[in-house]
């Protein structure tokens, strides 16, 4: 055991240490802002250590490569850091409005994020499973954290049962692959499958299908999406923002890792399985969103559809395709959290602010909030010059390069369909007469979060190479 290796684990160790500190801090401090601020300091320290390690070029595997500290995992960790910081910023005021200012909230966000970081770094299926469970168990509780609301408890219950069901499938997949190759190490699985001549074995395919089921649940691919609309609607909006980005990105991280490392030689098989799932996902997400009146539910279906677009890059099976998916996820992080932030802005003590009618005439009373929502809706639709366009554009281009032209045509068609429900929000804001007067629940943290997301959505739309070069460098070295 090489102790030197442990320094590459420092970002995660700091993270978990801060999670414990937050837990104890909750017992001592009354003001929740202190806990949130300590949390932000923790993210800063962890991210700085991560940055220093990368700068010093200390990339590599830890403990016989069961934990990988490479560009790929670091890119995903950056998404998780951004996700966590933005979530903390938008939660402070919102949690008070919901009368749910618990210190545990921040602690659980930390544990969930450290689970995601472990998932992104996993080089072994055991580590992957543990990271996934750490993330999942924390998010189940987060979804139900508003205990006095029945819908929050229901969301937690649905999320819990379907999540536990899917992780049982993941375990069975791990058991099958372990039984076949005798190892849970991703690189070992790849060489084992090759050397033992198991590539055309139907049991291997069964294991692969089980992995797709399990990961499909996490990223809400149709037909494993049933939980998403209910959970997204019932969970507190800040948690919805958190888990529509974090666990989804973490799911993509493990899909990329497992399929590109362990099942690299089976790329034709998993592409063939994922193509119909991607089409179904885009179709279901876009079409069912059309009939939604509740904006959280609509954004839930939209996030299902976005998983369908993002998976196109994985389907190509090339490193460039993976780059385009990662690019997509980073942009999706900003625009989705931005959209949910505006939803939170409309929440008051006496108004849920989730119905489409609540947005009527928003531009007349609060032109800035309406303009921000406009930007995020344009970006989610994929209209230039916003970042959402760039995200979709690169994913579609990579799919075309790999010869999936019909698939891209379908994707573009559903993008057009999605314009109907995104722009309906814009229509309500700008063309309807305002109903009752709406006060916004603005706060300092929310202001910072909205500024960051808006700037990034516009900046990445105008200078796409800024992000794309960074992704390319982190994946291709």
């Amino acid at each position: 055991m090489d102790l030197q290796d442990l320094r590459l684990l420092a970002p995660e160790i700091v993270f978990i240490l801060f999670a414990l500190i937050l837990l104890l801090l909750d017992l001592m401090v009354k003001r929740k802002e202190v806990i949130a601020l300590t949390g932000l300091v923790g993210v800063g320290i962890s991210a700085y250590i991560n940055y220093r390690l990368v700068k010093m070029g200390w990339l590599g595997g830890v403990l016989q490569d069961v934990f990988l500290f490479d560009g790929y995992s670091n890119f995903f960790k950056l998404i998780f850091y951004i996700n966590l910081v933005l979530t903390i910023l938008i939660s402070l005021r919102y949690m008070k409005i919901e009368q749910t200012s618990y210190g545990e909230y921040y602690c659980l966000l930390f544990f969930a994020t450290s689970g995601m970081m472990i998932m992104a770094s996993a080089g072994d299926l055991i580590v992957l499973y543990l990271g996934l469970e750490l993330m999942a168990l924390s998010t189940y509780v987060l979804a139900g954290i508003i205990r006095r609301q029945r819908r929050s408890a229901e969301a937690a219950m649905k999320y819990f049962f379907l999540g536990a069901f899917s992780s049982a499938f993941l375990l069975y997949g791990i058991a099958i692959v372990y039984g076949l190759t005798g190892t849970t190490h991703l690189k070992g699985i790849a060489s084992g499958l090759h050397e033992l001549g198991l590539l055309n074995n139907p049991i291997t395919l069964l294991g692969l299908v089980f992995f797709i089921i399990a990961f499909g649940f996490k990223i809400a691919l149709v037909p494993f999406h049933m939980w998403a609309p209910d959970v997204y609607e019932g969970a507190p909006t800040s948690v919805t923002a958190f888990m529509s980005v974090g666990p989804k990105a973490a799911g993509f991280a493990v899909i990329g890792r497992v399929f590109f490392d362990a099942f690299a030689e089976l790329d034709i098989q998993w592409s063939a399985i994922l193509v119909p799932l991607a089409i179904l996902t885009m179709a279901t997400g876009s079409i069912l969103a059309l009939s939604q009146r509740n904006i959280k539910r609509m954004l839930a279906y939209s996030s299902i559809a976005h998983a369908g677009y993002a998976i196109l890059g994985i389907i190509t099976g090339t490193a460039e395709g993976l780059v385009s998916t990662m690019n997509y996820l980073m942009i999706y992080t900003f625009m989705n959290i931005g959209a949910f932030s505006v939803v939170i802005l409309l929440r008051r003590e006496d108004l849920l602010g989730e119905d489409l009618e609540d947005y009527a005439g928003l531009s007349k009373e609060h032109p800035v909030a309406a303009a921000l929502m406009l930007i995020f809706m344009f970006s989610l639709t994929g209209i230039p010059p916003t970042a959402g366009f760039i995200a979709k554009f690169y994913v579609f281009m990579e799919a075309i390069y790999s010869g999936y032209v019909p698939l891209v045509i379908v994707a573009v068609l559903f993008s057009v369909v999605s314009a109907f429900f995104y722009l309906r929000v814009v229509m309500y804001m700008y063309m309807k007469e305002p109903g009752e007067r709406v006060e916004l629940s603005m706060s300092g943290g929310m202001g910072i979060a909205l500024t960051i997301t808006t700037i990034m959505v516009i900046l990445l739309g105008i200078y796409p190479s800024l992000l794309l070069e960074f992704v390319r460098a982190s994946v291709l070295g």
Partner: protein, 100 residues
């Protein structure tokens, strides 16, 4: 020694019972127990593979699965109790506030 295939058959059957139970049962506690059944069926096959392959990895994973299952049990029961406080019934049909 019991051949490996028997263990795999047992594990598959138990896993199948778990899946079917998850789908057809209406009592939340029974659904929860079905999930536990699925997890433990995986433990059977992991332990069997581990012995058959003479590698410790499978047994290590079994340890982790047991602890994760315990954590899951604690959280699952807590969520069921939280729900029960809103409506004193634990059948799946009555969990119906969120629809669409």
């Amino acid at each position: 020694m019991v051949p490996l295939s028997w263990y795999i058959l047992l594990s598959t059957v138990v896993f199948g019972i778990g899946v079917i139970g998850f789908i057809i049962r209406r009592n939340l506690i029974m659904i929860f127990l079905s999930i536990e059944l699925m997890l433990n069926s995986v433990n059977i096959s992991l332990a069997a593979f581990s012995h058959y392959l003479q590698s410790m990895t499978g047994q290590i994973l079994v340890f982790f699965v047991i602890t994760v299952a315990a954590a899951e049990a604690a959280i699952g029961l807590a969520i069921i109790i939280a729900l029960y406080r809103h409506k004193p019934s634990i059948t799946a049909e009555e969990v119906n506030l969120l629809k669409g």
